[in-house]
Assembly symmetry: C2
Homo-oligomer: 150 residues x 2
Amino acid sequence: MCFVTTREPADDQALQDAHEIAGLLFRVAERTRHVFEFTVRRFELTPPQGRALLELERPCPMGSLAERLHCDASNVTGIADRLEARGLVSREADPADRRIKALVLTPRGRRARREIERTVRSSPVMAGLTPAERATLRELLVKVADSGQP
Amino acid sequence: MCFVTTREPADDQALQDAHEIAGLLFRVAERTRHVFEFTVRRFELTPPQGRALLELERPCPMGSLAERLHCDASNVTGIADRLEARGLVSREADPADRRIKALVLTPRGRRARREIERTVRSSPVMAGLTPAERATLRELLVKVADSGQP
DNA sequence: TATTGTTATACTCTATAACTATA
DNA sequence: TATAGTTATAGAGTATAACAATA
């Protein structure tokens, strides 16, 4: 019950799969985004603020943080202002090059970060998979996450 | 070379996998988000505008679109204003209930939507997988995408 | 002169609340 | 009165450009 085309039906199928996977990844990404927004809102944080906090497991110069967040350096000033105003991070000048200011989590910031990370990692997004399926998904996602340019 | 703990080592491993998968999903989601932002910027659209366009494969009342975008209805007014100003959508009042206005893609909006969808679907995110791996990933993502509340 | 971070500006997204038109 | 969409408002994210301090 299957009319085979005259050229590379297997490739066509692979292409179809690729398209569908991209669409699925998009859906899952949207859902992850939504769950993250909901998560950080419980800490009265916006998504960029929450992402900044997650990136600050270790102290990080503001410019480098801008790169990690894929945004202009000038934005980090405002984000850092708001996090600093709430006592979650502090600016610390680099003794060697005083132009550089690193953002450092305060004890309170560390607690918030730990809670957010814990919540994100226990997110319900992949409930409904068996342990074996999760292991397989893990392997495939590692490949996906590592492929291409960051 | 493996000291087994006294209680459910398999469950512990499953839990570890779940945590790692959540982290990986987060990374892949971030990357997908970034690729999408880059994609729609080539059309001089913002991510919410691009997402709105993707949702408008079929005409859709503004309130329903707000639900799909997970935002307040008042935001859709502005997004629709900007898309309409650029000739990508039009508002069409429902003859049966004239409070309802559906957003409808213009021919130009359909072309833009088609291009964006094509670009998203051919995104390089899952390059580096074999056809068999893609098929497996597809199945698992279907489960993930369908599990839990939307 | 080049780099790091800041400030000024403008635009968009977002939620809340008050409003209009329709039902 | 209830609902769909709008408007007003305020806060936040974003990029660009001009700026200060430091190198």
